[in-house]
């Protein structure tokens, strides 16, 4: 293109790609296209797969070309007892882990909210579990704590004269929840600590002057103030913990009481099942349910905030 021709092109009409509005958008376009390409296209492809009986190449020694199977994969979900088990495990794992890490998080936050010697060190130590990679955390717990050959817990039990417990194999859910709580308590603690530090000091002071007991102040003043922080922690915690995968893969490799929904979808697909068709259907059902539950949870939360304002 010659310079003159380019000039003519640049003068531009409304709606042509060189108008000033478009020039502002143009640099963003690659990022937008990239986001669409890497997030939305795979999802659409998954939806398509969920209506087929797609299997892995290594699994196709019995000749069976990929074909369209309609809603068969979706029908199968509701008759699959293993999927139901996985849903129940997911629910238990998430609820226990979130509730326990909230309780411990609150306790540690209350501790850190006061001034004492070595506060900075304690704070750092308390946050550390959250900075560890989940795989590393799970490995540490598996090999150094729960292991019956060289685990600390086993050593402690033997020292106390108690018989040893096969933590991971006999109590897979409890073991995994323990690791999740250990990892997520600092996260809850930070959120609640922020809440505690935003509490106006004069109210607490006047309550003190009025002769309220420490526990009374906590129950009547601090807890209501913390409510929205607790709710936020519960919501974010649930979103993250429901996706737990690392701890399960490292510690038990699946099984009753430890295969949750993400792990089951993994087993169905790249984890050995290689039934991409039905795995896609499971994944999509999970996405739909997550959207419903998340919407519901957010609505409950916002209505709670409104109630509080009214009261």
């Amino acid at each position: 293109m010659t310079a003159a021709a380019a000039d003519v092109a640049l003068k531009g009409r409304v709606g042509d790609p060189f108008s000033s509005a478009w020039r502002r958008r143009l640099p963003l376009l690659p990022a937008l296209l990239y986001s669409i390409a890497v997030t939305q296209l795979p999802f659409l492809v998954s939806i398509y797969y969920s209506f087929t009986n797609l299997k892995d190449k290594t699994q196709s020694l019995i000749p069976e070309p990929t074909k369209f199977v309609g809603i068969d994969n979706y029908k199968q979900i509701f008759s699959d007892p293993f999927f139901r088990q996985a849903v129940w495990t997911s629910v238990q794992m998430t609820v226990f882990a979130v509730v326990l890490s909230l309780v411990f998080g609150t306790l540690f936050a209350l501790l850190l909210d006061r001034k004492f010697l070595g506060q900075g060190l304690v704070r750092t130590l308390l946050i550390t579990p959250f900075l560890l990679m989940p795989v590393v955390a799970a490995l540490i717990w598996k090999q150094q704590m729960f292991s019956s050959l060289f685990g600390l817990l086993d050593k402690a039990l033997t020292f106390l004269g108690l018989s040893s417990v096969q933590f991971i194999s006999s109590h897979p859910l409890a073991s995994i929840v323990t690791v999740l709580v250990w990892q997520w308590t600092p996260f809850m603690m930070l959120i609640i600590l922020a809440g505690l530090q935003s509490q106006p000091g004069d109210i607490l002071e006047s309550a003190n002057v009025d002769g309220a007991s420490g526990f009374g102040i906590f129950r009547q003043l601090t807890l209501p103030h913390l409510r929205r922080y607790l709710e936020l922690g519960a919501l974010l915690g649930s979103i993250f913990i429901v996706q737990a995968f690392d701890a399960i893969d490292v510690m038990t490799g699946g099984g009753p009481g430890s295969t949750n929904i993400p792990y089951y979808v993994y087993q169905e697909s790249i984890g050995g099942g290689f039934r991409y068709g039905s795995a896609s259907a499971y994944a999509i059902v999970v996405v739909i349910f997550s959207i419903i539950i998340a919407t519901f949870a957010l609505r409950v939360l916002s209505s709670l905030f409104k109630d509080e304002e009214r009261a």
């Binding site: 020039r23 290594t58 293993f82 096969q166 991971i168 194999s169």
Partner: protein, 455 residues
């Protein structure tokens, strides 16, 4: 004038934008293109067993120094390795130039056209010496006369026991024991500080699945019945023989098994046996080399017996970890150079003098010539001949009492579905061993999994 200057400014801005976009694209392309360094480096995925760790540490001095080819090892445990190789080989990924697989995968991947046929290279390569490979192992890795993987070590399964402990208890182990005899002895010598027997209980078709399936076979059970053409016909997990085998295995592990049996496999049992925490161990013959190794605390204290039987004549498995070149390998020529070195008779000899374990811990069971090395014959006196006999006796074409699909194969069913079924069912069986699940529940759920898989 004003018009013109704003026009040229606009032109400049446009130019900058275009240059930036083109530059970004070029950078992305360059990054993907240069992801593999130009220097000669090959990537190899291997299983995390002691002999493989030996070769990984010897490679720089013995192979790279001579050939100039760097080898990047990815060392994974058995289950993860399978997952990674199945995914990479199956989808034509380019992550690995050579992968370690076994006789379960080699014929299946090979006939599906996912692996390079090694026969021409192996036969042309004089130093490799194709004729020296043990025939049973070579056949297990071949399909229709094409060799798809070169064996690194070969093994059967047998029973290892502490002669001193058995003698102290006043019992003796026959050379060809039955499972009932083994169970009786295990319960008799079992003490709180030293378990009677170490059995694999960790979920995974190659872990608990392998040990248990040899027991299942000899108890007369099978995973699936077979159609006349050798395809799976119906799941047989709900049959009484299957229940008898599972109950026997789980009960033995609970009564006289190692601590936390539901979480133990080869490496855990090896550690427990070497630490003197178990008196007997039913596992791969390759373990014997590690028990008798120069640096082993239980060296010279062990007796060996053939895999225990019940209704069949032999029950030992046949397995080999072997190196294969995926069709998607970016550098098959160098990959073959590596494989022909790693699985050669020369490497076996080098391992005898260069590793900490010494001669007993060399990779066994792949070459006839290994059993003619004088130093090895002397060092492995206790187990070399029984290993070779067990490998020859492994009933790979007729492992049980009924006709079954997926032959040859002893401790696995050679059909693609077995990987998933074996993994998920052994998770259930592992829970039975741990005592957290009833055998009847595990069996009915496993029957469901096994039937669904072949639908």
């Amino acid at each position: 004038m004003h018009e013109a200057s704003s026009g040229s400014a606009r032109k400049r801005t446009m130019l900058i934008i275009v240059v930036l976009i083109v530059g970004a694209l070029a950078a992305v392309l360059a990054a993907t293109a240069s992801a593999r360094p130009a220097a000669k480096t090959i990537s190899v995925a291997i299983v995390a067993n002691p002999q493989m760790q030996d070769i990984a540490s010897l490679t720089p001095s013995l192979f790279t120094a001579k050939s100039g080819i760097k080898v990047k090892y990815t060392i994974l445990d058995e289950g993860k390795l399978r997952e990674v190789t199945t995914r990479d080989v199956g989808s034509g990924g380019k992550a690995f130039d050579a992968v370690m697989i076994g006789p379960y995968e080699a014929p299946q991947f090979g006939t599906a056209g996912l692996l390079h046929d090694l026969t021409p290279m192996a036969k042309a390569d004089k130093t490799y010496n194709y004729g020296d490979l043990i025939p049973a192992v070579r056949n297990a890795l071949s399909a229709k006369g094409h060799l798809y993987a070169s064996p690194f070590y070969g093994e059967s399964s047998f029973l290892m026991y502490r002669k001193d402990i058995l003698a102290k208890a006043g019992v003796s182990m026959p050379l060809h024991p039955t499972w009932d005899q083994v169970a009786t002895i295990a319960r008799k010598i079992n003490t709180p500080s030293m378990a009677g027997i170490c059995l694999r209980g960790k979920p995974g078709w190659g872990d608990l699945g392998a040990s248990f399936t040899t027991v299942l076979n000899t108890f007369g059970g099978t995973w699936w019945s077979s159609t006349p053409s050798g395809q799976p016909a119906a799941a047989q997990v709900d049959q009484p023989q299957f229940k008898t085998a599972l109950d026997f295995y789980a009960k033995l592990a609970q009564d006289a098994g190692e601590k936390d049996a539901a979480n133990s496999s080869f490496n855990e049992c090896l550690a427990a046996y070497q630490a003197g925490k178990v008196s007997m161990w039913y596992d791969a013959t390759v373990a014997a080399g590690l028990l008798e190794a120069a640096n082993s605390p239980v060296k010279g204290k062990n007796g060996y017996a053939f895999a225990p039987v019940e209704k069949t004549k032999a029950s030992g498995w046949l397995w080999t970890w072997a190196l294969a070149i995926p069709k998607s390998s970016p550098d098959p020529t160098d990959a073959w150079k590596f494989i022909s070195w790693a699985t050669s008779a020369q490497y076996i000899k080098a391992a005898g003098t260069h590793t900490k374990g010494g001669w007993p811990s060399i990779p066994p069971g792949t070459r006839v010539s290994t059993y003619a090395i004088p130093q090895y014959k002397a060092a492995a006196k206790a187990f070399a001949s029984i290993t070779l006999a067990a490998m020859k006796a492994a009933p790979i074409t007729n492992p049980g009492t009924t006709k079954r699909p997926g032959l040859p194969g002893v401790q696995y069913v050679g059909i693609p579905q077995f990987q998933d079924v074996g993994n998920r069912c052994t998770q259930l069986f592992s829970s039975v061993i741990a005592g957290s699940m009833k055998d009847s529940d595990a069996l009915s759920q496993c029957q469901e999994i096994a039937s669904q898989a072949i639908k």
